[in-house]
Amino acid sequence: MPALLLLPLLLAACDGMPRDVGGTSERISRTGTMRVIVLPATPDAAPALDLLGRYAAAHGATLARVEAHGEHALHMLEEGDVDAVVGHFAKASPWKTEIALSKPLTHGEPDDADTPVLRIARRNGENALVLATDRMVAEARR
């Protein structure tokens, strides 16, 4: 019954769950910088940048734009070289398991899962950042 014995210990440590696997939120607070890529051909990126700007401000940081294109940008996100990527992504994007896509920012979820809409991509496993930005997206859509 190792799982049962472990449980009280784990639950005692629940405060502040979830945390980031790679410590992104802490790093943003520590360095005062949140690194963001806006994919080319995203003319409507303003609401996403506004949201990320508010997130960064809440951690005493500012946004720093990083220039990168297409797959290169998403690889940088996977590797933790940037903290978020703003762009148009379909719900059924081939990248959906490699990165954590938010819900659409400006529309409802399209009926067609192949239609790209404005979303924020986060690094997999950075669950504190993912939950915080999911909450902000939900509020923005209200």
Binding site: A13, M17, V21, E126, N127, V130, D134, A138, R142
Partner: protein
């Protein structure tokens, strides 16, 4: 009831009780599966737990089918009846179990090797965005309760009616609630930022499935190869089989006695001429266990025993 079909009145009430328990199992475990599937997200441990719970329906379904077959009378095409359907279904269930356990082990190990970081984000319910992990934990806590209760009720019934499928099902339910606890540990691990915790919990679950499956396969193969009856919980010879062999040897001397299991029943073959006074099942097994002995035959010209 005929020689090769139907259920002995001594165990009929317990078999019906087993059937009722399995219908309850299908109902409760289906509700668990739906709830877990709705909250599954990207967690490997949750995925393993859902598949494990889904598989736990197999023994229940197989038991219900086998009980139906057992009631059928023998016919010209199946003169020995359908009691062995139980053994066949048991083999199929065990094989399915082993395949899924192996698949889940592979998935967990590759997740650990690739160092994949599971993402569990927020879900918006009634205007509030909460961490999906809390919903997963709630679903897993719910998933623990029915198996604990059902498993405990089933075990003595399985023992009374010597039903391996029902017994395997009770064991499976033990695996179910342990899976639930391991799953909770995995989700809490994700919450604490330990990327490996989820896949490690999933691997623990998968290996317990493989262990159960290998045990069940051992027994199912023994039954299909006319092996001597095994205990419910292990591959050891059952006590009543040992007692029956001893009883036959004490009556007929040091003769060769072969027992094989047909579903929950025992068929016995003794290498000696037919006695003038053939003992009854109760003479050999005692009144309570007499139903177990389905047939007793004598071979008047025994060949050499197998090497």
């Amino acid at each position: 009831m005929t020689v090769h079909g139907g259920i002995d009145p001594v165990i009929a009430a317990d078999v019906r009780r087993g059937e009722r328990l399995e219908w309850w199992t299908l109902f409760w475990m289906s509700s668990v599966i739906v709830l877990m599937w709705l909250t599954m997200g990207a967690s490997q441990a949750m995925k393993s737990a859902v598949i494990e719970d889904f598989l736990s329906l197999v023994p229940a379904i197989v038991f219900l089918l086998a009980a139906r077959w057992e009631r059928r009378d023998p016919n010209r095409r199946f003169p020995f009846g359908y009691r062995r359907g139980n053994s066949l279904a048991f083999l199929i269930a065990a094989t399915a179990l082993l395949s899924v356990g192996a698949f889940l082990s592979y998935e967990s190990i590759t997740t650990l090797i690739r160092r994949e970081h599971p993402t569990v984000g927020g879900v918006t319910l009634f205007g509030h965005t909460v961490w999906l992990g809390w919903l997963m934990i709630a679903a897993l806590v719910y998933s623990i309760v029915p198996p604990i209760i059902l498993g405990r009720i089933k075990q003595p019934v399985a023992e009374r009616i010597k039903d391996k499928v029902l017994h395997t099902d009770a064991l499976m339910q033990k695996a179910d609630w342990q899976t639930g606890l391991a799953g909770i540990a995995g989700i809490v691990g994700i919450g604490l930022g330990w990327w490996w915790a989820d896949a490690t919990a999933a691997l623990f679950i998968a290996l317990s499935i493989v262990k159960d499956a290998i045990g069940a396969l051992d027994q199912a193969v023994a039954e299909l190869l006319d092996g001597t009856p095994r205990k419910l919980a292990s591959n050891e010879l059952s006590d009543d089989a040992e007692d029956l062999i001893a009883a036959l040897k004490s009556r007929y001397g040091d003769v060769s006695v072969r027992l094989r299991e047909t579903g929950r029943y025992i068929d016995a073959e003794v290498d000696c001429p037919s006695p003038a006074d053939v003992p009854t099942a109760a003479d050999l097994m005692g009144d309570d266990a007499a139903w177990r002995l389905a047939s007793l035959s004598f071979r008047p010209e025994p060949s050499d025993p197998p090497a």
